[in-house]
Amino acid sequence: MPKVYNWQLGREMEYPYEGARPQKQFAMIFDINKCIACQTCTVACKTTWTAGRGQEAMFWNNVETKPYGYYPLGWDVKILEKLGVQDMDGPVYRGKTLFDAAPGGEVVLGYLPEDIDYAHPNIGEDDSTGLMPQGIHLTLPHTQWMYYLPRICNHCTYAACLSACPRQSIYKRKEDGIVLLDQSRCRGYRECVKACPYKKVYFNTQTRVSEKCIGCYPAVEGGRQTQCTITCIGKIRIQGFLGKPDAPDPDNPLDYLVLIKRLALPLYPQFGLEPNTYYIPPVHVPPPYLRQMFGWGVEQAVEAYARVREDPKLLGALTLFGATPEISHYFRVDGGWVMGYDAKQAEIVRVPLREPTLVRELYDVKHRAYRTNIT
């Protein structure tokens, strides 16, 4: 098997195809601390792409409550159990990837969920860990905890779905790294469904072929962020592109947050797929669980997030989240403002780092009325 370099693991690993990075990589960052699981993203995706027959239980974008929420049922518990306990000491991963752990004759370790596993897309909603005794009070990390995990296809650099397809129906676009499935080539063997550890490829029971998140490529090609990103009412997401992992651009907000500041971390990097959706970890969750989910570096990310006010550039990058429907290829912080720029370096958005406060007069002379909403 060819050797490819996985920057998230800090080492080379085996992958069935030669490594060929796209010119730029579709990527998304989620600030988990801001997600309230309103499911607006889920509905935006559903109404845009999966409103048809055979797609009833299919959510290319879903938001699940961790740790008791999973779509499909138990997906991460099952694959972690199959992979077994692995070393998670950085900065080089010494454990096995899913490719390393593949059974004989297969390219990647996986499992095929049962149809009924998709029956409860929002199971575990708001369920927290442990018992809530009388007199409990908040500490960090929380003794009883839960958080919301929004998920789309990770458009992995080393996609397991792509590697497992016996018909080469799945491909990764060289211009933006979006992973697509050619439904006219697909014969519905579900090897991709079995292989993807994140279970983000879905079998359509009506068309009898598989389908998956397409990264809203018609929007992205036009310089617009995905539906799930621009509809997010909590402004928890930003979608853009990652550059070269070995030469990050400090003016690209995604490069800055992921590759330079390491504030946003990949989901289950130990699987070895180099997933390209990144998460700012929740500050209130016990670190061992977070390390299991996001790898080493979570403690540093939580610490950096607590001090973000002291770092105008970092605050600026976070302020761009949800600030514009267009893709910010570059950003700059100057004079208390953050500016986002498109691919041609034209300014597309300008946001103050500190929201201005306006105190209105109690008596409105023009309307001859007293205001009751003054602060």
């Binding site: 740790p67 008791y68 999973y70 049922l73 138990g74 991460d76 518990v77 099952k78 972690l80 159990e81 992979l83 077994g84 306990v85 692995q86 070393d87 998670m88 000491d89 454990g95 009924i116 409860h120 199971i123 575990g124 708001d126 369920d127 927290s128 860990t129 442990g130 018992l131 809530m132 005794p133 009388q134 409990i136 009883q144 839960m146 130990q270 016990p286 670190p287 061992p288 669980y289 977070l290 390390r291 299991q292 080493w296």
Partner: protein, 149 residues
């Protein structure tokens, strides 16, 4: 009468009820009392209630809450744990839903078809208070080994 499931997020003796919009109607009550399977379903319109009798509002005595005139009442302030005295919108105004009520719970029967068996996610060990070994390991971050803190 509503279907309940185990929820660990509140102290013992305190529970919560939400997303229960489909209250009982005369048709659904009739369905429950006459159908062989006892489902609270209107046989004409097929409306399926979440309650056999009553609804979310059953926990209030009337459209006005029992506490609507008690300006000296000590209550918990909305959106906080601060205990305050006197007027509170969620307590004293008509908001169409009870904020906090005192209720007595009694179990009618086991859930599931015919009251038999466990709900599949519980049987698989993936629900709170019914975790299997893998789930317990997962909750503690036990699928990774960390030698350097």
């Amino acid at each position: 009468m509503a279907r309940a499931r185990y929820y660990p997020g509140t102290p013992q003796g305190i529970t919560r009820m939400w997303f229960n919009g489909y209250m009982a109607t005369p048709g659904s009550v009739k369905g429950h009392e006459t159908r062989e399977d006892g489902a609270a379903k209107n046989q004409v319109t097929q409306y399926q209630a979440l309650f056999r009798y009553g609804g979310h509002q059953s926990l209030t005595r009337s459209s006005l809450k029992p506490t609507h005139q008690t300006h000296t009442l000590i209550t918990r302030k909305s959106w906080s744990n601060e205990v305050t005295r006197g007027f509170n919108v969620d307590v004293h105004c008509v908001t169409s839903a009870p904020r906090e009520s005192i209720a007595r719970f009694a179990k009618a029967e086991d859930g599931g078809l015919g009251g038999k068996g466990l709900w599949r996610p519980v049987a698989l060990g993936l629900r709170p208070a019914a975790e299997n070994d893998a789930m317990k390991q997962y909750l503690g971050g036990g699928f990774v080994r960390i030698s350097k803190a």
